[in-house]
Symmetry: C2
Subunit: 266 residues, 2 copies
Amino acid sequence: MSTHSQNPGTLFLVPTPLDFGMDAAPATPLDQWLPGETLATARRLTYWISENAKSTRAFLKRVESVGNLAAPLQAQHIAALPRAAHKRGDHTPEAELEAQARALLIPALQGHDIGLVSEAGMPAIADPGSSIVRAAHALGMRVVPLTGPISLMLALAASGLNGQSFAFVGYVPQEASERARRLRELEALALKSGQTQILIETPYRNSALLQSLFQTLQPGTRLAVSAALSLTQQVSRSALISEWRRHRALPDSLPLQAPCVFLLGR
Amino acid sequence: MSTHSQNPGTLFLVPTPLDFGMDAAPATPLDQWLPGETLATARRLTYWISENAKSTRAFLKRVESVGNLAAPLQAQHIAALPRAAHKRGDHTPEAELEAQARALLIPALQGHDIGLVSEAGMPAIADPGSSIVRAAHALGMRVVPLTGPISLMLALAASGLNGQSFAFVGYVPQEASERARRLRELEALALKSGQTQILIETPYRNSALLQSLFQTLQPGTRLAVSAALSLTQQVSRSALISEWRRHRALPDSLPLQAPCVFLLGR
């Protein structure tokens, strides 16, 4: 259709629930976590870009249980993010990454709306996908972010730490002395500037990171941890390091095998 | 009830829609922006802490139009955040602020769950409320953050900027030369470290901030702006400063009188 070729489709950023990939989690109806506009858009779209086609199909199956999809599952177009887009700072030249991203957006030039999804939470936040968003802007596409759970911000709100100034710094080094040095650096920044520092870790290293935080940080620094956010077993704790050390039971109450967010500040 | 005095109530962090306070906005049904769990909790709670009792009543009226409240509007208990909690870094000693926050949580010690709400978006993020959250943790209360729209993160996802490392820095100085200095400082940090810098401004100064960004930043720096997020007229744009300068029409397409989020990085 000629009107379509003149008006490119819209790129929707579609959040997914935070229980993704956790086998033990009961499949709570999606409308508990995703609002009406997000679900209506997910039902309407038939073109997708994602990290993993299999989990996107699983997500669409859950969307379908809330209401009919515009096209049956087998007829949905799911394209995989280029591997290089999975992390920044790799050796793929920016121009090549952009070319790959533009290629994935070709259906939009034919007038189709496209949904970008990640494995859990908001695409392009603590997750790949930003190269697709940059390419969409370069092509003159409309970009519309939709509401859903974002673990970093749920954890920040629940921490009682400064939410008027904060930074997400991703992962800290694995090697013990390097990690301690990085944690002290983040603590100094947080105490001096008042900027809350937010970090994450792969679940099987959560316990080691928590021990390292206890050992490294000063008694008067506040440490908050949120685990299994938005799930039934979710826990958020916030206390000074001196209090964490005094109450040895505190860490035991955290489901550290689930995804966690760690926050420190004053 | 004796069981209640032993188990304090839970503090729920209840997000509100982003159209709050915008008179022109049509009152879209809340379930478009807030998921089922958030709405069910808002319907069930009868004790609230908020910046402004009037707008909390307006919010509850909108909740009621989605489903019955556990208590009629006139029977809801709405306590106002202490003035000093409205911003950090003021002159109220931390101990006094904490005492005021604890006083507001007394109903929780009697077993009542309490909801903390802000004017728009997530409480305690780019908004007051963190002193209440800290006091709740100190009292051994459970703290549960609920899902809803968070303008900073919608804007970040829509920016195409680095979402694996980012900082929210709040407001920049109003005075022109101080503002330019601060913007150059944030740009240097973003270009050096790859950390996306996120800022906000009061709506009537959005236009001046945008001009200042155009004039101050380097041609190769990426600037993104999201305006009127989650509303019908929402717009998100992202381009290099050189492109913003070339396409004079770009800024005109932004509803700058609405709340905006500004982001810069590489």
